[in-house]
Amino acid sequence: MYDIEIADLRKLIELVKEKYDYDFKNYAMSSFKRRIKRIVELYKFDSVDALVERLTHNPTFFDEFVSEVTVNVTEMFRDPNFWTILRDEIIPNILSNHNKLSIWHAGCSSGEEVFSMQILLEEMGVRDKSHTIATDIDSAIINRAKEATVSKKNIELNSSNYERYQGKYTLDKYFTEDKEKYNFNKQLLSNVSFRKHDLVKGQVFSKFDLILCRNVMIYFNQTLQNDVLYLLHESLFKYGFLCIGSKESLIWCDIANKFIVINNEEKIYKKVKE
């Protein structure tokens, strides 16, 4: 197998920026390179140049490209202890201050995180007080999230996470079985809207009490992480909460001091300064 060089990637990134106005320049190079290599192999291109060629002449291919270049791996109740803390501490805290709750899932992928949250809220009996917006850059994955299905091969993992989280029931309560998949009970999505949104473009569209942006910024370099944190900060009410992945960190961002750490193990932060 040949190795992709940075120069090949630069050319690709430039074309995508110019023609489609998506900017991958500040994505983390190691994973971005692996994704491109994967696309080249999957579509049997001879080289990155052939991929550039295809994107130049075939705009319909672009959505597929975005879908393949992003990493959509997700789980329900990933890091069960995180969800336990949301349920037992964070959400009661928000609701004790004002009796409603607005949530943004930034980089929601196929929706597992959103389904988990709605189950959590339902079991707490506060789902009707909540309003949720779930966004992702990848249109195909947003459509999957709207369909609200979970593949059979993931159900065991999801169920064991739910168990560790100590949910009230068993996870099958919220699903009906289909052929290769399980269908999530869509009634639980009545307070959720899914939209396409690109964190790189940095548009603020609303304000929230709680933002989950977990395992999304790990695909960005530090420059972009820093920029995105401004966006997330601006999208939070004062004293709102930001949750990032358990192995991510804010400490090297310019505006880290506008947050305090609420839980260091699960990476939950609170905005304390405008």
Partner: protein
């Protein structure tokens, strides 16, 4: 076979991969290297997906150095030991930092040794020492080839000594491995490398 020719001041990092049967050789290595061994060491060991805690502590207890699980984009420090966290791939970025990722499993593994080795080979080129230990699958073989192709040094634990030798054997099939060593010889290699690096340092 052990060769003094492979001890070279050019090396800037050490990366170690292992799976089933590698805990013992890894702890032997970590407990024997000098506390001030100057190069960063990256460990990618197959581990239970859902057990986030405990492993890094178990390794640290036996090590002369503290072992840490890096955060995403953490910068690489001289002489630190980094362990790939459970359920994340660990890559080395150009520009001296570590990236984590939740990409799909590679060789049924996350963390995947191939991913860590390949990215390290790309970042460090010929200035990398790669060590592959006991294990029951072929993860790491391709990564060792990448290290070799980029001019780095490749070492595998001898298949005779390995508890499960699929991993070193696959690497031996995938590329020309520079040295096939017992754990004791790997330790000796790192100690000799340490001495040479310190002499170089004193002379600057």
């Amino acid at each position: 076979m052990f060769s003094y020719r492979n001890i070279n001041v050019k090396y800037k990092a050490v990366v170690i991969g292992g799976s089933a049967g590698s805990f013992q050789p890894v702890t032997k290595i970590l407990s024997s290297i000098p506390k001030d061994f100057p190069l960063p060491i990256f460990l990618c060991l197959h581990r239970l997906k859902h057990v986030r805690n405990g492993f890094v502590e178990a390794l640290s207890i036996k090590s002369t150095k503290e072992v840490q699980e890096p955060f995403d984009k953490e910068s690489i420090k001289r002489g630190s030991v980094y362990l790939a966290p459970a359920n994340y791939h660990m890559s080395i970025e150009l520009g001296n930092s570590i990236s984590l990722s939740t990409e799909g499993m590679v060789n049924n593994s996350r963390p995947s040794i191939d991913i860590t080795l390949d990215s390290a080979a790309y970042a460090y080129r010929d200035k990398l020492v790669g060590i592959l230990l006991s294990g029951a699958n072929k993860d790491g073989a391709l990564g060792m080839k990448k290290i070799k192709d980029r001019g780095g040094l490749t070492i595998v634990q001898s298949p005779e000594e390995s508890t499960i030798n699929t991993m070193p054997t696959s690497a031996l099939e995938a590329t020309e491995i520079d040295m096939t060593l017992t754990t004791e010889e790997i330790v000796k290699y790192l100690i000799e490398l340490d001495k040479l690096l310190k002499i170089k340092h004193e002379n600057i």
